[in-house]
Symmetry: C3
Subunit: 312 residues, 3 copies
């Protein structure tokens, strides 16, 4: 169990703990195939979804996970909240705490705000994305998706491709994939790569073609236009040329290799329309599977953190 | 049963199928009169309300219908969704599908988008209003309201009055009312009438007074100011003169005739303040009944589509 | 029981009825300490949260209270509602009524709108704040918080301090505290005091230091910047000097006295940062307790109004 634990960054979980989340996710995948997709496990627990940034997939994934465990879920969003009245984040959080909830799921635009919050509150906190920093439940669901496909993770070759500068998914995935025994290759031009990646011990390449015929998993990062303050590097045409996945590149990949993306895809930029909509490579594009697994993995995580929890 | 079926336009249901929805709605009206207004019929099913346009009555009516059948309901709205990140409708829909939901209720500003969506997804879709095109559950609840009042539908004379150009309710109602054996009369000036109504085989008049003393049901359409790109035709004064319902016109109607409107009413335009607030004609203005019946009819529809559904 | 009753202003409840709400709140505080914080009391009832103004704490407090009684809750907000289509408040309310709900919780920016609504609808209405007028459930939870702390209310000395002109909390609290036998002292400069307070029979002072060493409860009102149309009176520096709570003033208070605030606090204005964050006076600052008690008190109120209710 992970009773009462926080999940702020991918490295908060060791190899055994990640394994535990994935194993329990298997059971919850079974629940999701049943006619009645619901278990009474967390009845009477209340989970708060606190999103200071808009989100469809992550927010709804947590909402569904909570409801399918029979927990109550309350949605807070910045736009409808007292933040309009000039309330500080901490006062908002303290109010939420005083409502005697059991767990907070928080997304926020600023890196590092999670440590600040978790240091003050006495209930578990799951980071649903903080700025350009971390998105650890994405790493869990991606790891689960790879395990489901290949059976074992050990020794698999994974290339992450694209905008590492603005990606919280990249940071969490590089950490977790490495920890679980995969060989991680970073593919990014230096302009889209933060300095601290050089110390992670992974290979760093700038051209997707140097590695595309060798990888088991090609993980395309989303161009985070909404987090960029400057003009797009270097141009969409250039991006495509060195980093984009089109039909030709797909054909160069190993037969049993797969393509992943955290979504939503910028069609024609990270992945071409043709690849997105092709019938014959459908089984190798795992984007939908990632979303499906997200619910089961989050059910697993909520279960492991909350089911044995003493009352706050 | 209507297991696994879509409802995109009124004509998707034949006479027997409409009858089935109405008959089951009777049972659900009984549930709504109970102390505990809830049945466990759809426990463990998840329904998504996906509204790309704002809505109070339809969105909440579906939400209540779902909850009273013990289904879980997840609300998606355009403003909080990933659409802000430039995600395409199809990617949004595909994400939602991957969350393993059982049914989508969709409202969208563009006519015809429903066929596009339903062609791609493998779960039932109910159109909760698409542009100026169709609003079939409104037609069902209106038909139910008329049946409740008159016992039988066959041969009833119904005049729909107003802005057919911008009304999705009009199109769905004309189709369904005709199919169920009612005599439908269209009352609209040519400027507010799309060309394709001429082929529907209904009478078309331009002055409400030509027919007001003969109808069993006077169905006032809403002036859809928010869907008009041009100045109001021809003027509110003119509209009132030829198409508005005031006390004098109400007095000219048959004693047991009724007035309906899909809501919200533009008071003083389609219906005068005096008629809206009059005590003595209260039983003949069925606007509140339509809202009440909406929940029961939508419960019936969700039940008929989902209760026997195999898992997606 | 308070079956079928409205709660629009604090004076709607007599002393015995307030006592009844507080007594039942004790039982619900017990529920909130259980592992499964949920009772089936209001299963099958539906409550609508209708907020024409944004709110975090009150809206979520009612939502949690409803869910923990197993009622269904539907959230309406002005921004997503048909009000955008030019629908009148009354038409919105009538729609909601026709959905066969059991109780309305309403917040609105205009004083007095509650009487208008409750006069028209046939189901109970709870005022969750109307303009500068009343916020009676805040008064209930504040009274409960004081009773929890001191055991009895009779004869306690309470000073309310600050902006009475713009505060609905002040009006409800002065009424209810007086009714329950507490001695109420109003501390406000004449510019922040409406004329009608002079007839309430309470002492009125303009300087917090005249009374701070004598009170059992110091109730700091929130400066309602968002409800002020003019420049802040007379300046934040002046406000602090005559009305703000800092460490020095806290030290002048009686040892077993407490500080309350309806939240969110404007740090550095009503209460200094130092007092807010101090460890040693933590047990005397009851702001978090107020929030916690809010859920139990609202559960109690909903239970007393709805559990014996006949169907509308």
């Amino acid at each position: 169990m992970l009773t009462g634990r926080n999940l702020i960054r991918a490295s908060d979980l060791n190899e055994q703990e990640v394994g535990l989340v994935l194993k329990n996710a298997d059971s919850f995948m079974e629940v999701l195939k049943r006619k009645v997709k619901k278990v009474p496990t967390l009845r009477g627990k209340t989970i708060a979804n606190i999103f200071f940034e808009p989100s469809t997939r992550t927010r709804n994934s947590f909402e569904l996970a909570a409801k399918r465990l029979s927990a109550d879920l309350v949605n807070f969003s910045a736009s409808s909240s007292a933040l309009k009245k000039g309330e500080s984040i901490m006062d908002t959080i303290e109010t939420i705490i005083s409502l005697k909830l059991n767990l907070l799921v928080v997304r926020h635009g600023h890196s590092g705000v999670m440590d600040f919050i978790s240091g003050k509150v006495g209930i578990p906190l799951i980071n649903a994305g903080d700025g350009k920093n971390q998105h650890p439940t994405q790493a869990l669901l991606d790891t689960y998706t790879i395990k489901q496909k290949f059976g074992s993770l050990q020794g698999l070759k994974v290339a992450l491709v694209g905008d590492f500068l603005n990606s919280r998914v990249a940071r969490s995935n590089v950490e977790m994939f490495s920890r679980m025994g995969m060989e991680v290759i970073v593919v990014a031009p230096s302009m889209l790569l933060p300095e601290d990646y050089s110390v992670l011990g992974t290979d760093i390449l700038s051209d997707i073609d140097q590695v595309i015929d060798q990888v088991d998993v090609l993980y395309m990062l989303r161009m985070q236009f909404e987090r960029q303050n400057r003009r797009f590097y270097p141009s969409i045409r250039e991006y495509n040329r060195f980093l984009g996945l089109d039909r030709k590149r797909l054909n160069n990949m190993k037969k049993d290799s797969v393509v992943m993306h955290p979504g939503p895809v910028n069609r024609g930029i990270e992945i071409s329309e043709e690849v997105m909509d092709s019938r014959d490579s459908k089984d190798r594009i795992l984007i939908s599977n990632q979303v499906t697994h997200g619910v089961a993995v989050r059910m697993s995580l909520l279960y492991l953190i909350l089911s044995q929890q003493e009352e706050p």
